[in-house]
């Protein structure tokens, strides 16, 4: 297939996943802000969230005050913020439009409809829109599109590139979300284990739609180590780094079979999988959670680069 087509499919999926994550971050900020006596108030927490996306500076330049309504606008509607839900859905739809013939009509319908609904949302009175409505809509839309892909797309190379996009982006996003909580939200180590700490953990799990799953898996007790394990090393949780890495490996292996040859990207993915499959949560904390996550984000980006070099430039021979 044309490298550009593969790139469009890969990035379409990445933007779709990113829109979902941004919505989840918005939800996280919203729930945190509901906490009555948070140290420093919600201001810091919105700041932390924007910082995790590397967009705090852009936000303050444009909006100044870190108030919730501004954060909502910035994270959901603002087309100047490249990771806002609106930007991501617009970009995903543009990528999809270019490769319209590589998508089933159900997938195109789902994506195009989400874009039309988004436009309708932008036209509505802001004060009539509550954060939960926006985040619910985004998550529902994401599920609808993902469902259409899973049930209608041919299992060809295009399907693999979409899934690679989803998995690479998701790994990155999970690592960043976890990093927000652990490194950025807590202003001081003294808070660890405090009520505030627990509340933030719960919120994070909720934002990841993983609150109940966690309870089932770990018996309901909140601990930093267990939550980190859940989000990093648990192969049952679909957003864990390990799950994402397994998926990347699976789809790269499929591509290797379709094209009849293995690739450096496959090797890179196997190496990363090897590490995650072997790792214990103690190792992660020994390294330092933030340091580990930072490294994971960079290795994952390296993997994305490998996929790009191998398949998306059309230069590899």
């Amino acid at each position: 297939m044309l490298s550009r087509t593969a790139a469009n499919l890969f990035w379409m999926a990445r933007y779709l996943e990113r829109s979902e994550t941004t919505a989840r971050l918005l939800d996280l900020g919203f729930r945190n802000a509901l906490l009555p006596n948070a140290g420093g108030g919600f201001r810091n927490e919105w700041g932390a969230i924007l910082q995790s996306k590397g967009t705090l500076q852009q936000f303050t330049d444009k909006y100044g005050d870190l108030v919730q309504r501004n954060a909502e606008s910035f994270l959901f509607f603002d087309l100047e913020n490249p990771s806002s839900v609106a930007s991501c859905i617009t970009a995903a739809r543009e990528n999809a439009r270019i490769v319209r013939t590589a998508l089933t009509s159900q997938v195109w319908d789902a994506i195009n409809t989400s874009f039309q609904e988004l436009k309708a949302l932008t036209r509505r009175e802001r004060s009539s829109l509550e954060v939960p409505e926006l985040t619910d809509w985004t998550l529902r839309t994401a599920a609808l599109i993902r469902g259409a892909i899973e049930t209608t797309q041919l299992r060809n190379d295009g399907y693999r590139f979409m899934n690679l996009g989803y998995a690479v982006e998701r790994a990155d996003n999970t690592a960043r979300l976890l990093d927000v909580k652990y490194y950025v939200l807590l202003p001081s180590v003294a808070y660890i284990g405090s009520g505030l700490d627990n509340y933030q953990w719960t919120t994070l799990l909720r934002a990841l739609s993983a609150h109940r799953a966690y309870n089932w898996a770990y018996g309901g007790e909140l601990s930093a180590a267990q939550i980190a394990h859940f989000l990093i090393l648990n192969p049952k949780f679909p957003r864990s780094l390990l799950s994402c890495c397994l998926e990347v490996n699976e789809h790269l292996d499929h591509l290797g079979r379709i094209y009849g040859r293995s690739s450096p990207a496959q090797e890179a993915a196997r190496t990363l999988l090897g590490e995650l499959a072997e790792a214990r949560i103690e190792d992660v904390f020994d390294e330092g959670l933030h340091e580990f996550l930072t490294r994971m984000i960079s290795e994952n980006a390296g993997l994305g680069q490998c996929i790009n070099d191998q398949y998306l430039t059309g230069e590899a021979r």
Binding site: R4, A316, R317
Partner: protein, 472 residues
């Protein structure tokens, strides 16, 4: 009904043969049903995503061109004559191109002025002396025709570069067949859906000699912002070939390669829908980012075929147009089957004088213009408009040609009050490769405004399905 114009359905003797089965159809169609069908058609077009401007007219990219459900019909016999005329013209235009990029016999013979050809902007020196595979320069020739009587057709202009609008021919038929299947059971309408297969075969037939396998054919588009992008992706999809942008191709060694997920793949034939100027920044406009650097070298050394050939536009220039009948006689030794519209070249003093004295009767066009812009329709213009135009003409006469106002034929068309005659033209698409082929049909454009002679979609024109039916 206007007497002065030839009505393709009803002439002096009443209902004409080709339309016989349609009289009952429209007469028995209840108004509500018609409205319903019209809405259905629009829905179908929206769903297919056909929202583009034909003939490069620009404008809103998401605009639908009005579709009229009343088909335009030709009988098999009248079509046969048209077909012969169109193919004759396509052959002559290609013979002209291979001549002027070679020895220029027609110029040496004094039949066409040298400067008209060699100083023409569309003439590409870079192509001179190069013979493309099978000697074909223009692989898709779109010929714009109008009808003025039962047996009277005129060629308005030729399109030798990359004529657009063929997706309308195909989609109009698709929509009609879905909406009125019984019409197709009652009438033996010749199918047009073989067009994509023929086009693919035509393109494959001109693969370079260096190509030793099944040729890899691609369609090169300026990109998804182009107004005809829909047509590009539609055609690529129907032919089962990749739709590529300049950035998807690169030149290395003696070949052009396509970037694929399996690495570089050699490309043999490029059906390009971008203009010459943008094809190769090393040869033409250096600022172009739409093309492929080095492509012209690969082309001229026989590594890839570009369809249509760069420089093919010199054959469809409005000033060259006048000489097409001469080309037919010169290269084919035949009498032209289709006539040209008599044309006055305002660059010539005598012609200019005539034109200036008869502005109110003539249609005056810019030599390089398109889309019905910058033209004067004398009989429809008021005094002030004519005077303003006369000034422009006087300032730059060689920029204009003039033609008599043609009594364009009409075809019944659905209008608010029911059915009314509206003026139509026709663009069939002739394919030239190893064979010269023409699918029985084309794009009929219709001027939806009462009395209007301008069929351009940007000025109130619509489109119709075009039928060729078997006659008993």
């Amino acid at each position: 009904m206007t007497e002065a114009f030839f009505n393709e359905m009803y002439d002096r003797d009443g209902l004409r043969m080709p339309y016989q089965m349609l009289e009952g159809w429209y007469q028995n169609m209840p108004a509500e049903f018609r409205a319903l069908k019209q809405a259905e058609a629009e829905g179908l077009f929206r769903r297919y995503g056909i929202t583009f401007a034909v003939y490069g007219e620009g404008g809103d990219p998401d605009r639908l061109i009005p579709f009229d459900m009343f088909p335009r019909v030709f009988g098999a016999n009248e079509w046969r004559r048209l077909e012969r005329g169109i193919k004759q013209r396509a052959r002559a235009l290609n013979a002209f191109l291979s001549d002027v990029y070679d020895r220029g016999e027609i110029i040496r013979a004094g039949r066409i002025p040298a400067d008209l050809v060699y100083q023409n902007e569309a003439y590409e020196i870079a192509v001179a002396g190069f013979r493309p595979p099978l000697g074909v320069f223009s692989h898709i020739v779109g010929i714009d025709l109008v009808r003025t009587g039962a047996d009277q057709f005129y060629v308005l202009e030729d399109n030798c570069r990359t004529p657009s609008g063929v997706s309308y021919m195909l989609e109009n038929r698709e929509v009609m067949m879905r909406m009125f299947p019984h019409l197709f059971q009652e009438n033996r309408v010749a199918p047009v859906d073989g067009y994509a297969r023929l086009l693919k075969r035509t393109l494959a037939s001109v693969a370079p000699a260096k190509c030793e396998r099944d040729p890899c054919v691609v369609l090169l588009t300026p990109g998804h912002y182009n107004s005809a992008y829909y047509e590009h992706s539609f055609l690529a999809d129907l032919m089962g070939i990749e739709l590529v942008e300049g950035q998807d191709l690169f030149v290395e060694g003696d070949f052009c390669w396509m970037r694929t997920t399996e690495g570089p793949k050699k490309v043999d034939v490029i059906y390009r829908r971008i203009d010459d100027a943008y094809l190769d920044p090393l040869c033409f406009r250096p600022d172009s980012t739409l093309g492929v650097p080095g492509l012209m070298n690969v082309y001229r050394s026989g590594g890839v075929t570009i369809c249509s050939a760069p420089g093919a536009g010199v054959a469809d220039d409005k000033a060259i147009y006048t000489y097409v009948p001469e080309m037919i006689r010169f290269y084919l030794g035949e009498a032209p089957i289709l006539e040209n519209v008599p044309t006055w070249q305002c660059a010539k003093a005598d012609d200019l004088k005539y034109v200036q004295e008869h502005l109110a009767e003539l249609v005056v066009k810019e030599v390089h213009g398109s889309g019905g812009y910058g033209m004067l329709v004398g009989p429809k213009a008021d005094k002030a408009t004519i005077e303003a135009f006369a000034a422009k003409l006087a300032a730059n006469p060689s920029n204009y040609i003039a033609q008599p106002t043609l009594a364009l034929s009409t075809c019944p068309t659905f209008v608010e009050e029911g059915i009314a005659p509206r003026h139509v033209d026709l663009r069939p698409y002739c394919l030239v490769g190893r064979d010269v082929e023409l699918v029985p049909g084309g794009l009929t454009r219709v001027a939806l405004t009462d009395g209007s002679l301008v069929v351009n979609s940007s000025q109130g024109g619509g489109v119709k399905d075009t039928w060729v039916i078997a006659e008993e």
